[in-house]
Amino acid sequence: MLSIELENISKRFGERTVFENINLKLESPASLAVIGPNGSGKSTLLKIICGLIRPTQGKVRIKVDGQEIKKEGHRAIFSIVASDIELYEELTALENLGFISRLRDSQHSEIELNQKLEQVGLKGREHEPVGLFSSGMKQRLKYAVALSVSPQILILDEPSSNLDAEGVFLMEKIIEEQKKVGMVILATNDLKETQYARQTYKLVN
């Protein structure tokens, strides 16, 4: 049983305080939608949760069955899909997938990796350099990469960005599946997307 707790999280960039004193607790299975106007710090909060950004104050605590996991171990629990995080454009889809899953200790055979690409609708494009992909295809690949490591917590920043109708359908399936096995934390501008999550957290400017 996985739990994640935000204790008094604040973030300041120079003079500007983005947010302060955020306290949250989630226990899996759980799903959270972070909403708020532009500039309220949704992306920043998500990145603090998964450890990409250091908070100015406060701590993120993750516990598995009551035992706290040290910060070095946080990395292995998350996967993130975000529009400002890109894959390697000179590598092919398969190479990106293989590289990142190998670094995350997820050993997959090439057949398994191909299957994952097929699941996100990229069959036939495995050996193309990602630089040639459309933005929608890149987004799908990001999902494939995120899921290939079987994360316990999936972080999605603007989950449906660049996706066509079929892609959105795929995304919904992915979210539903992830909610069953772990946690989903998403950030969105679109109020409709809060339906994907059981809880909502609103950030104000």
């Binding site: 960039f13 120079g14 250091r54 100015t56």
Partner: protein, 215 residues
């Protein structure tokens, strides 16, 4: 109270430096600069050490106060290094005939200036305060680690014109005459106290300016 003592001490040093016989008769009157140049050079190195130690404390505690202390020490260190370079080259022009010879000590103080300069160049290339503090702290430590290697390399690569044994010789015994020591060591102490005083003032001023900006 101690400020009065410092004042008296430095006054004594300044007067005695001129009244006492010149430290090195062979070089004449100009060797009096010894009483100022050498302590100033030692302080520029001390400031580097102080800056590095506070950088380490910043990285451990993430308290911006230590970053402030570290960068303030570096500012003063830069100033002292500059003063040491200038006083040294004045002395050099009189004793050795030219202002700059790439003598090992000159190279060392110059490298120290470069390190301080690099430190501040790094700081000015970063906008966010925490990033600035973290990255410059790391550089402070890295450059300090390079110092032992620099100390080894520089004398091997450059030939020395410096009066090598004017303070401490190979056996680490003081080679100055008692009369000279009477002025030199107070000078050293006085400058050291001066450094710590200026440093604490600088930190306080910066803190006050920060408060004023915020409020």
């Amino acid at each position: 109270m101690w400020k009065l003592v410092l004042f008296l001490l430095m006054s004594y040093v300044i007067v005695a430096a001129y009244l006492n016989p010149a430290p090195q008769q062979s070089l004449g009157e100009v060797s009096r600069i010894f009483y100022f140049h050498v302590p100033v050079a030692w302080i520029s190195v001390l400031a580097f050490l102080v800056s590095m130690l506070n950088a380490v404390r910043y990285l451990k505690t993430r308290d911006m106060l230590y970053d402030l202390k570290s960068s303030s020490a570096a500012q003063i260190g830069l100033l002292f290094a500059f003063l040491a370079t200038v006083s040294g080259s004045i002395w050099a022009s009189v004793s050795w005939g030219s202002y700059w010879n790439w003598d090992p000590r000159q190279v060392s103080i110059f490298i120290l200036l470069l390190i301080y300069g690099a430190y501040f160049a790094l700081r000015s290339a970063i906008m966010e305060n925490e990033k600035k503090a973290t990255l410059s702290a790391v550089y402070s430590i890295l450059s300090f680690i390079a110092v032992p290697f620099l100390i080894f390399v520089i004398p091997r690569v450059f030939e020395s014109l410096h009066p090598a044994t004017s303070v401490v010789d190979e056996n680490l015994k003081i080679t100055m005459s008692p009369r000279v020591s009477l002025v030199f060591f107070p000078s050293l102490v006085g400058f050291t106290v001066l450094f710590f005083w200026i440093w604490s003032l600088q930190v306080k001023i910066s803190q006050a300016t920060e408060l004023k900006k915020g409020g």
